[in-house]
Amino acid sequence: MVFMGPDPCAECEQMLQPFLDRELSEDEFAIAEAHLDECGYCRKRYKFEETLRRYVRQAVVEEMPPELKQKLAALRTPL
């Protein structure tokens, strides 16, 4: 997919999501990892993305109201 050309940080940015989703091939993963080892700029942004995903998940999860559970149980087929 990518090889580190003249703008490795731009390429690394392209790989951020597939990297965190573990979608990259082994070769691509190794390329991204080698760049991240030496580039604090990209490392920070990868770390941020990881934390952001957790943060968004916590923010948007809303638990089911208990009355709804009872309503659903009432929809069951009577025996």
Binding site: L16, R53, V61, E62, E63, P65, T77
Partner: protein, 195 residues
């Protein structure tokens, strides 16, 4: 032979009733997860409750179409997303325009500049829970459905593809674009606040 038949029938009926009860119990155990996803597919709590009730009413009605031993979670979420798509098409007939998106580093760059810090936790503290909820709701349906299934429902790409009846490549591209759109919305929310 005619004496054996009623007994066999009775046994078959009892067996079917037991299988149905088992099915209903298993599907009810998934209700918390179904609600969490439903809540973010639609705008309001009331809509989410209606959608979940419709989903369960249909699931209980059509339980025979579920093949035991296959992925029950994917089966019930497929009912949920289909019902939601039907409802969405009724309510929102205007075609969704393709929103602009920025690169994956855009949000960090924007927030870092505003926060004057590169600590990711301090940067994230600039976003309130309401802003995040609102930003997600601004992501167009096709993209949001995939984000919600994968990032909140914890489905694999394969399962999300099966649930939404789209190719796995489309799941990936919608997920990647959807997350970028979400980050652009979050950046706009944070800028609005600091302005």
């Amino acid at each position: 032979m005619s004496e054996v038949q009623p007994e066999t029938d009775a046994r078959a009926i009892a067996e079917e009733a037991r299988a149905r009860v088992r099915f209903e119990e298993e599907v009810l155990e998934l209700a918390d997860q179904v609600y969490r996803v439903a809540r973010r597919l639609v705008s309001t709590r009331e809509e989410a409750e209606d959608l979940v009730q419709e989903t369960y009413a249909r699931a209980f009605r059509s339980w025979r179409s579920y093949t035991p031993g296959t992925n029950l979670r994917a089966w019930i979420f497929r009912i949920l997303t289909n019902l939601n798509i039907d409802r969405g098409r009724r309510e929102q007939r205007t075609p969704t325009t393709q929103p602009l998106e920025e690169g994956d580093y855009f949000l960090y760059n924007r927030l870092e500049a505003d926060a004057g810090s590169d600590d990711e936790r301090r940067i994230l503290e600039r976003l309130s829970q309401d802003e995040i909820v609102h930003a997600l709701s601004e992501v167009p349906h096709d993209f949001r459905d995939v984000i919600v299934l994968v990032d909140i429902g914890d489905f694999t790409y394969q399962d999300a593809a099966q649930i939404l009846d789209i190719p796995i490549g489309t799941v990936m591209s919608r997920l990647h674009r959807g997350r970028r759109i979400l980050k652009k919305e979050l950046a706009e929310a944070s800028v609005g606040e600091s302005a």
